[in-house]
Structure formats: structure tokens, C-alpha cells
Amino acid sequence: MTAADLMLALPEIFVLGMTCIIMLFGLWLPEERQGMISFVSIMTLVFAAIILLGWDDPDPAAVSFAFNATFVRDQMADVLKLSAFIVLAAILVYARQYLRVFKVAMLEYHVLSLFLLLGVMVLISAASMLTVYLGLELIALPSYALVALRRDDQRSTEAAMKYFVLGSLASGLLLYGLSMIYGVTGTLSLAQVANITAMGNNTVLVLGLIFVVIGIAFKLGVVPFHMWVPDVYHGAPAAVTALIGSLPKLAVFAMAIRLLSDGLGNMQMHWMSMLVVLATLSIVVGNLVAIAQSNLKRMLAYSTIGHMGFMLLGLLTGSDQGFSAAMFYAIVYAIMAAGAFGVMILLSQHGVEAEHLDDYKGLSKRSPWLALMMLMLMFSMAGVPVFAGFFAKWLVIQAVIDAGMIWLAILAVIFSVIGAFYYLRVVKLMYFDAPDKDDAISVPADFRAALTLNGSAQLLLGIFANILIGLCVASF
């Protein structure tokens, strides 16, 4: 280990140090000054982003390894980490009022979310199977605790229990697969695994690959490993659902790239067919079942399943074009999900979760601004042209067509049209139905600013899609 190694991992070290400082000093803060925790946490993210960007590299395409090749830093890692900072900062702004109203422990929420962020960063920069697993666990443990944070609420403890049991099972399966790959190749480093698998395939290696793919599928929540998603989304407090519905997706995307492309890229013929099945099932089941939901949280959960299926479409092509399309999809999805849950968090300000679709009736009359933001987010999720979600879907489908799988592209288009129905239903409820209640919606200034940015980001990322697409393309 040298000073250069430490410099490469400086954002991680900074986030960890600040988390510990917030944890210690937060204990002495009196009840009425707990808002400081939120402020310091957001500042931590801002400075972490500055540190991340300040690290100047002579060649942006360079890949730097550190800590005995357990840590890697490349353009993909930097872009994904930066998106994670932005998404988490938005969620923390949204969460502040919610935590107070629902009497969720402010300090614990922030400390655990920062630990989750650290796990996301570790997983994004993982260059060895050991760090992949540790990063995944560092994401999973705070998630379980966050879901159970309102422990007097029966629904959220039940969700946490389900999440814990299924999540541990998934980690176990992944670990089993990794141990088989280790057994065959004799190395933990993903780069060396790639060298050794280049010499020829082995049955045990394929078996290990199956378990690795199952582990990834579980964590992404794609069909048929999606059972936990609706229950956990539904049971968790909205501020936590926003967190576990957005950040880990970025990390698991990176994990899939690191394991399947960097490590087992030579076995593409094997994992491609598995991913085709997973992606097809997710797109079909996610979009069809979402139509039947009357609860917005469950609807968004099934829409996540569908979206993750789309992201897999990009991954399964195995081409750089497909990878960059999937990366664009993951980032856009994380921002969309954070915004949609942000609206839900804001409407829950009277101590009742605004999770029923009926709660959104006539929103345009109660708060035209909020309805407009939700409209942009829903249009983007549905893939209406000009919005970012449209370009995400378009790039992915283009990659699939270039890979020669026309039928898969046609299926994706058909189901994204079917999926548009339930997003547009929300818009219809907001604009064309009479409101059930007319209590005022009070919006803190920082919340308004963050959600405005988040909503209009859908439009701006659509109009100026080239910038982010360029970054994603340069990552591979």
C-alpha cells in the first residue's frame, strides 16, 4: 500500500470518516437541533463529490488499481459514484420532514444511509471477488436495518424480516458461486479470473456462474427472483423505499459489469442466455402486474422489476454499446425513482403514507407544481419522447437490435407501451379527477428546490442526453 493507493480511495475514506464523526457528534445534539445531522450529511456528499472530481487523472480512460488489486477506479466507477452522491443528497433533502413527522430516528437514518452509500462505492470499485461480496453486504446490512427502523410498525418489521431472509439467501447463493469460481481459478482477482477463463471452460465454472447470476438477479429483483421487491417497497417507510429503490440499483449494475464482463467475460455465451430469460420474464411480469396495483408503492415496485428487465437487456448484449446503454438506464432510473418517492414523501406529511393511487386524485388543483414534477417523472418512466427515460429505453433497444435479437426488441417495445398505461393513469388521476381532500401542501424551500431539479432533470437529461450518454460510452 502506498500513498497513491490512499489517494485513489480518498472519497471512500472521506465518507467513512465523516460518517463516524456524524455518528459520534450526533449523539450529543439536542432533539431540536437534529436538522443539523441532515445538513452535515448533505455537505459530506458535496465534499465527497468535490474530492472525487478533484482527483485529476492525466488520461480519463485510465484504469487504476489499488490495494493489491482489490480496488479499481475507472471512468465507470467515477460516473456511478457521482450519480450515487447526487441521488442520495436529493433523498436526504426529501427525507428530513418525513423523519420528523413519522418519528423515525434522524441520526440512525442518516448514519445508516451513509454506510449504505459507502457499500455502494465499495461495490462499484470492486476489483476482487472478496470486495464484491463485502460491498454487497455493506449495502445489505444497513438496508435491512433501515426497513425495520419504524419497529413499532408491524408492516415494516414484517418487510424487514422478509428482506433479511431472502437477502441472506441471495448473498449465500452468490458466495457459493464465487467460491466455485475461486476453486477452479485459484484467484480472487477478477482480472486474473478473466485470464484463466480465457484458456477454456469448465463445468464447475459454469455452475459457479449460474449461482453468480442468481445472486445478481436476486439483488436486482428481476423475475423469478423478485418476490421480495413489492413487499419490501410496500412495508418500508417511504423515505427508506426511496433509498433502497435507487442507490443499490447503481451498485448492482456495477457488480454485474465487474463480475460478468470484467471477470467472466469469456463465458458470455453462457450468461447471455440466462439473462435473456431473466430480462424477458421481468419485462412481461413487471409491466403486467403493475397494472393491477392500486397502491403506488407496489406499482412502483413492479415498475422497478420491469425497468431492471430493460437494464438487463443492455447487459445481455455483451457489447460495449449495450453496457453503456445499461449504465445510462441505471443512472436515469435511480434519479427517476428518487424523484417519484420524493413526491410520495412530500404527500405523506400528515403522518399517513400517501401510497394509495387515490391520494393523487386532483393533485394539480392542490399543488400545480407538485403535479407537474410528478408528470415529468411519470412521463420519463413511461418512456415518452424527449424525456430521459425515452432515451434510456431507446439506447437499450438499439443495442439489442444491433446484437441481432429482433424478437427481444419487439417484445420490449410492446411491453413498454403496455407499461405506459399505468404511468399515464397516475397523470390522469392528478389532472382530470376531482380532489378528495383539499388540505394544503406545505413545501420547505430546500425540498422544492431539490424536487424541481429532480423533475426537470428528466427533461434536461432528455434534451441534453448526449452529455451523459457520452460519459457512459467513454466508460467502456
Binding site: 455518528m23 482489490t70 470486495t131 436495518a145 427502523l149
Partner: protein
């Protein structure tokens, strides 16, 4: 018989006997203590193989932490040994079957491999004791994963406290030493003059 063999047989005997005692004694606390003895003897046997790190870990983790916790549980639950033994005869056939299968599998491995093909592991290398080697690897080559594992443990602590701590109960009684020592006589002793009975009796006496 060399001295090492003598020590090996001594500890093996203690290990086997204490393992047997764990499942035969009636008192649950004795059983737990015999398990401690079994762990300790196997640690000593490991020590003979010059794998002192495993031996120390076994003593520290199992004897020091796990078994103490186990003893706590046994003592707190006040187990009724009669009730525990109730289904003994019923489970015996299955238990014997499992034991036979396991013994058979072990035999099979030894027979097919041959005892001479299962050599002693190589002893201490010239590079140094394996604790030192492990430590060196952990703090150099595997520093980063090691630190992340430590963070995961920290998250475990934070999560456990977040999920169980309910805040201070207003009815909790606790001592505040600084208030205790700064107390004055006036706070505690109240002088009550009782003119009635005291003065009367004094008058009567005079």
C-alpha cells in the same frame, strides 16, 4: 513413544471423554463445561500441529465468548433435564443411523485414500509463525477488504442498537454521583423543633 505422541494421546483421550460427557451428563451446566474442556483439548491438539492461530482463536472465540454466552443462556433458562430427555428412545434409531452413516463415510475416505496418503500438514515454515504471517497478509495485501469487514461489524452494532434502543425511559432511576457528592447537610437533614412532647417531659422531670 515420543513425548509428542504421549501429549497427543493424552489430549485425545481427554477430548474423547469430555465429548462423551457432554452428551451423557444430566446437568446442562456440567455439559457446557465439558464442552469447554473438549474445545480446550482440541486447541491443544492443534497446537501440536503448529497451527497456533487456529488454536488461539478456538480458545478465545469459542471458550471465551461463545461458551460463556451459552452458559448464561443455560443458567437463565433453568432447563429441566427430564423434559429434555423425554424423546430419547424415540430419536435413538435415527440418531444411530446418522452416526453409522457418518462413520461409514469417514471409513470410506480413509480406505480409498489410504492413511498414508493423508500426511501431516507441513509444520512451521522458516518464514515465521503463522499468526505473524496471517497478520502481515491481512494488514498489507488484504488491508482494504479487512477494513471493510470492520466497517460491516460497525454497521452491525449501529443497526442492532438502532433497532433495540428505545430512548431513556423517564421512569428509570439512576444515580448521579456529582449530585450525590455535592449535596449539603441542609438538603438532607431537617431539624424539626417539637416543642410539645419534648419540653413537656423536660418540665415534668424538673
Amino acid at each position: 513413544m515420543t513425548a509428542i505422541e504421549l501429549v497427543f494421546y493424552l489430549f485425545s483421550t481427554v477430548l474423547t471423554l469430555s465429548a462423551l460427557a457432554v452428551i451423557t451428563v444430566r446437568n446442562a451446566v456440567y455439559a457446557a463445561l465439558f464442552l469447554v474442556l473438549a474445545f480446550f483439548s482440541s486447541a491443544a491438539i492443534w497446537m501440536l500441529l503448529e497451527v497456533e492461530f487456529l488454536a488461539i482463536t478456538l480458545v478465545l472465540v469459542y471458550v471465551g465468548a461463545v461458551m460463556v454466552l451459552f452458559l448464561f443462556v443455560v443458567m437463565m433458562l433453568d432447563m429441566n433435564s427430564e423434559r429434555v430427555r423425554e424423546g430419547f428412545a424415540r430419536y435413538l434409531p435415527v440418531g444411530i443411523l446418522v452416526a453409522l452413516i457418518m462413520a461409514g463415510e469417514l471409513m470410506f475416505v480413509i480406505w480409498t485414500k489410504g492413511a498414508e496418503k493423508l500426511p501431516l500438514p507441513p509444520g512451521q515454515s522458516d518464514a515465521g509463525a503463522n499468526t505473524a504471517l496471517l497478520g502481515e497478509r491481512l494488514y498489507t495485501a488484504y488491508l482494504y477488504p479487512f477494513e471493510i469487514a470492520a466497517v460491516i461489524l460497525l454497521v452491525g452494532i449501529v443497526a442492532a442498537i438502532a433497532l433495540t434502543h428505545t430512548g431513556r425511559n423517564p421512569n428509570t432511576r439512576y444515580q448521579d454521583p456529582s449530585r450525590q457528592v455535592s449535596t449539603r447537610r441542609e438538603d438532607r437533614v431537617r431539624i424539626v423543633s417539637m416543642p410539645g412532647a419534648g419540653s413537656k417531659s423536660a418540665e415534668e422531670r424538673s
